[in-house]
């Protein structure tokens, strides 16, 4: 068995990975230059002239990339130091990474095809922290990798063995329980499909409409050739009517497509609580089953527009603790569910929410937002319009009015609700968007203040969890500091397993 307390080097098979990474880096970073180089080669073959600058740049980058990879390979050392995995590498930029066993979420042994031949594996440690790709031993012999994984698992298990035993006993002792929290029936799915935001699918269908229009043009042109009069008198209305028909077709097709996709994707959607875990099951042709661990739920976000409000449908998204690169996979959302069921589920996770009040954000936020988003972007269009002396440029002020109205509603409708367990934040203009989190999930608090804010005794409070963040802009400094201190107090005194 290896002596893990001593720094260990990478086996020579890791060089394979080093060079494959080099090739991948070259292809992903240098492809525009490579294309130019190839084109240049062709041209040079024709003209027999040109300089070699491109070649030098490519060779330069190639040499630097290879050197960098080799340096990393030769300086890479890993070891176990106490209850932590330590990884060091680099010469110009030295990296010294230390991962306590307690923070290791999982260890993956990954075998690309070339490692399978050499019976080696990548040792990838997931800590749910960002930049998790750094936490990787590029190559270990398979047997050594398995031994190291077992060693770390054993050490980790030693630390929390008593808790694991207690938990297992509890699970065994208790009878299996099951409760259905959410069930989305077919009629609700049709409503969701009909009234959800169709802008994206309409954009996709516009491409198809343009193709259709280009096909119809031949037909139009044939008509026009037949009669010069029809070209002038009827041609224009005909083109317009084609546009109208196409627009209607696009919208109808997009909505139908949306309904069909929604039904196929979320058919039979249920969330059932089974022995403490929330299990979601959905899909028509390919049925997906996903398990949500309540202790991993960091933030629950809901969204409701006026139409969904009338239909009593609420869109929700559960944000879990994730490593940066698996963010999308870990977050969980459905475009809509019966409102009362979502509220019940939210109450199950977070308890009853306290009453929403205004965040206390200063009205200066309104002026700041109108200036930044409404006025500043208009400087160039106004300048151009004034220069052209065409009154149509006055239309740009519509944007200013829109931003003013939007900013006012955003300022007026924002809300916050806090008690000793949860924090809920609301933002609303047309859509009512809310985020709820447990205070014990807070993992960082950030107070930001620009020069403008500082001069007015204001700041923005940003609250981070492992699943996402919520921010409260333009709070009075004293209020923000009080809230930050309270959140830290709740987070630092919460001794529950937080992710």
């Amino acid at each position: 068995m290896m002596d893990y307390s001593q720094p260990q080097r990478l086996p020579s098979i890791a060089l394979l990975r080093v060079f494959l990474r080099v090739i991948r880096a070259i292809l992903s970073n240098l492809w525009p230059l490579l294309i130019l180089y190839v084109l240049r080669l062709n041209r040079r073959a024709e003209e027999s002239s040109g300089d070699d600058n491109f070649v030098y740049v490519i060779y330069g980058v190639l040499i630097l990339t290879v050197l960098n990879a080799l340096v990393r390979y030769f300086t890479f050392r890993w070891q176990i130091d106490g209850d932590a995995l330590v990884i060091r590498h680099g010469v110009i930029r030295k990296v010294d990474l230390r991962i306590p066993f307690e923070r290791i979420q999982s260890i993956d042994l990954q075998q690309p095809w070339y490692y399978q031949i050499g019976k080696a594996a990548r040792f990838v440690v997931d800590t749910a922290g960002s930049k998790s790709s750094e936490a990787e031993i590029w190559a270990l012999k398979m047997t050594e990798a398995e031994a190291l994984r077992s060693y770390i698992h054993d050490k980790k298990a030693e630390i929390d063995s008593e808790v694991v035993m207690e938990t297992t006993d509890q699970v065994r002792a208790s009878e299996p329980t099951e409760r259905e929290w959410i069930r989305v029936d077919i009629s609700t799915l049709i409503k969701i499909g009909l009234f959800r935001n169709h802008l994206r699918s309409i954009a996709a269908f516009i491409g198809g409409a343009f193709y259709l229009y280009s096909q119809l043009q031949e037909f139009l042109e044939a008509d026009e050739i037949n009669s010069k009069i029809a070209e002038v008198a009827e041609g224009v209305p005909m083109v317009l009517s084609i546009f109208v028909i196409l627009a209607v077709l696009v919208v109808v097709a997009a909505i139908l497509f949306s309904v069909v996709v929604t039904i196929f994707r979320f058919f039979g959607f249920t969330i059932v609580e089974r022995n403490g875990a929330l299990v979601a099951r959905y899909g028509l042709t390919s049925v997906k089953t996903r398990q949500l661990r309540p202790k991993k739920i960091q933030i629950l976000r809901t969204e409701q527009g006026p139409v969904f409000k009338a239909l009593k449908i609420l869109k929700f998204k559960i944000e879990q603790a994730y490593a940066e690169k698996v963010r999308n996979r870990e977050d969980f959302s459905i475009p809509g569910s019966p409102q009362q069921m979502v509220v019940d589920l939210r109450t199950r996770i977070f308890g009853e929410l306290p009453k929403m009040t205004h965040t206390g954000a200063s009205f200066k936020w309104f002026w700041y937002r109108v200036t930044r988003l409404g006025l500043l972007p208009l400087i160039v269009p106004i300048g151009v319009g004034f220069y052209l002396e065409d009154p149509i440029w006055l239309l740009v002020f519509a944007w200013l009015l829109f931003q003013a109205g939007y900013s006012y509603l955003l300022w007026r409708n924002q809300g916050v609700a806090i008690d000793d367990k949860v924090l809920a934040v609301r933002k609303q203009v047309i859509f009512d968007r809310r985020a709820v989190m447990q205070l014990s999930r807070v993992q960082a608090v950030e107070i930001q203040s620009s020069w403008f804010q500082r001069n007015r005794g204001l700041c923005t409070l940003k609250i981070e969890t492992a699943g996402g963040a919520v921010s409260m802009p333009f709070l009075h400094k004293e209020d923000a500091e009080k809230l930050a201190n309270y959140l830290l107090y709740k987070s630092e005194t919460a001794k529950l397993d937080w992710m």
Partner: protein, 184 residues
Amino acid sequence: MFQNISIDIDQLPKSEEVDFHKVSPKYKKVQLIITTLIALVIGAIGATGALGMDGLMVYGWYGTGGLLILFFLLRTLFIQKAYPWKGYVLREKDVIYRTGLIWRKVVIIPFARIQHGELTEGILDRIFGLKKLRIYTAGGSSSDLSIPALPKERAEQLRRYLMNRVIEEAEEEQVEDKSMLLEE
């Protein structure tokens, strides 16, 4: 026994009333060298491009040169002015770091929420005997923390202390979890 003691928010520890440790004064020198190098490289490229030019084109290069000097002066000024505010402090339960000049920010991370720590050093850092401490939290990179220009020994001492506190906090969590399970 169940307790529900009321909390006086005004009595909570105030994160805004702590004395910050500044990062090493060598930070200013390192940044000044980096600024000079950037200006020199851009200036050298510009000067090479301007060779053989005449007429109005040359004035364009004068303008670019002027902007470069302005960039150099402004960045130097920013570094000098921002330095006194840049600092960190360790409390019993968390680490606080503040930075920025026009946009200032104060980040506070409880020890129990730290995932892992990393020390890095570039060439200039090594020449000046400095290291950068990076603290990773779970989730996205937005709540990660990076404290630059720490003297080598201080950086290693800080990292060791932080990691020990992370382990202690995790062990406390385990004990608390166990007692909660037993209570249930």
